[in-house]
Point group: C2
Chain length 308, copies 2
Amino acid sequence: MAAKPTKIAVIGSGTIGLSFAALHLSRNTSCTVVIFDSRPDLQEYVSNNISGYLVDTDQISCIERISFAKTIEEAVEKADIVQEQGPETADFKIGIWPEIEKHAPKEALFWSSTSGIPASDQSRDMMDKSRLVVVHPYNPPHIMPLLEVVRSPATSDDVIERTLKYWRDIGRTPVEVKKECVGFVANRLAFALLREASSLVSQGVVGVEELDDIVCASMGPRWTVAGPFKSYHAGGGEGGLKSFMEKIGGTIQNCWDASDEDIRKGNIRVGESWQADICRQAAAAYGMADTAERDRKTKNVLDVVQKR
Amino acid sequence: MAAKPTKIAVIGSGTIGLSFAALHLSRNTSCTVVIFDSRPDLQEYVSNNISGYLVDTDQISCIERISFAKTIEEAVEKADIVQEQGPETADFKIGIWPEIEKHAPKEALFWSSTSGIPASDQSRDMMDKSRLVVVHPYNPPHIMPLLEVVRSPATSDDVIERTLKYWRDIGRTPVEVKKECVGFVANRLAFALLREASSLVSQGVVGVEELDDIVCASMGPRWTVAGPFKSYHAGGGEGGLKSFMEKIGGTIQNCWDASDEDIRKGNIRVGESWQADICRQAAAAYGMADTAERDRKTKNVLDVVQKR
């Protein structure tokens, strides 16, 4: 990175903001982070909560590189990166970028953590729409390596390249998403599996807990090591994915057809009757979730695969 | 298990048969395995190939507990477990079970490794249909912990319980599937995600390799530690999955609707035009797959999560 310490302005101090702040501070040991949020107790709130995100790192060295801004202008002046995770409304985001643009350096990268409002909407009133790109994490970003870098048609290649480089340099997995689409990629994939899971549970094929056990003992570890295409490419032997599709294609289509029919018959739409039973089963099986234990275990899993 | 060594008859010596044989021998150190297959070079073939499946174990002690049978009768006499992975046709399986039933002890467990022919079809000509259950692995079974124990309406509770106990006792993850359905559960889930992945790649949103990177850096590790329901239950905070669905449900339904439309528009059916490009991308990205490296990494991942 630059010779001077990278200055990162974090706009919004919710759980995603704090998680990103902790990620930058722990992985990019020369950066400084300035946090802006309109909440009146910002400094006290961050001080009380940031240490939960600073795992396996020198907390003191991280915390002493945090500062706070009272205005957007103060936050973004001289910033190298402005990372926004404010309220998830188009109005808020459309309103804030022209203000950020006015006060930030010309070269600063502008990233929105939105899970669904594309850069082409958010940049509507910007002078230079080529500067904005969505950098959508898979929560929580201080644990999970993925960043979906979702470009708008206006986003410049230079912004994409510098964004990818930043994340790669600190050991994360940024992936360029070339077209804006509903839900971006990771959630689309996960929700497709969730719908199938909900459909099978609602038919009584397995319960919520059994379904989770199935995934943890099969696709989870498989897809940690190799994604679905690479896995099925291996499944096809010497002929790769092509052979796999030739051999197993009929079975796959039968499954897809059965899925469509079951989803239609079961009326697997959000808010319909299947939902209450599945939520009840989840509450009975899991009670109050322990995300700290989950995050610790996930970190151990990632340490294994990311070791070269 | 029983005081005398458990005798396991493995019917069919393809890759799944050898993988199961290796699993039994390495995890159940007092068992003996007898292999039956109609291939003339059976003994030589097994001797040449079994060691690839016997990883991190005392190979000599495993191999000396293997024997070979020249007939079904010889294989299954005095067997405690008969595990079938012969040709994947209904005719073969319907034909073999009455013969096995005739020669095996009354208490022997009968397991089919089929990925799609339900026990209710396979047991058509059996005297006692309650004895048969599908035990479907997630390949390869000597690595992956999942066994889908798919009962037919006739399968007895006793058979289910003894089957689940056997696998739990040797540290695997057997899950009872209560209703026979097309593709069972694991493949249905994986293929649902595969369809969505294929749809997004075919639209040019991301490439094959980027899609795999997304999964490996997000859902893979997440679902290794907690399945989809448990993950979203945690995502809902104190209110669990119910809160999650209330907060995010609208987004989920939007994604499902977009998926349906994209799949329809892209004609994402097996054998249609999207398929060739995706297979080409996979071949270019991955060449010849190295399953040994994949299996070694997967084992390391599983060691982390299965440590108590």
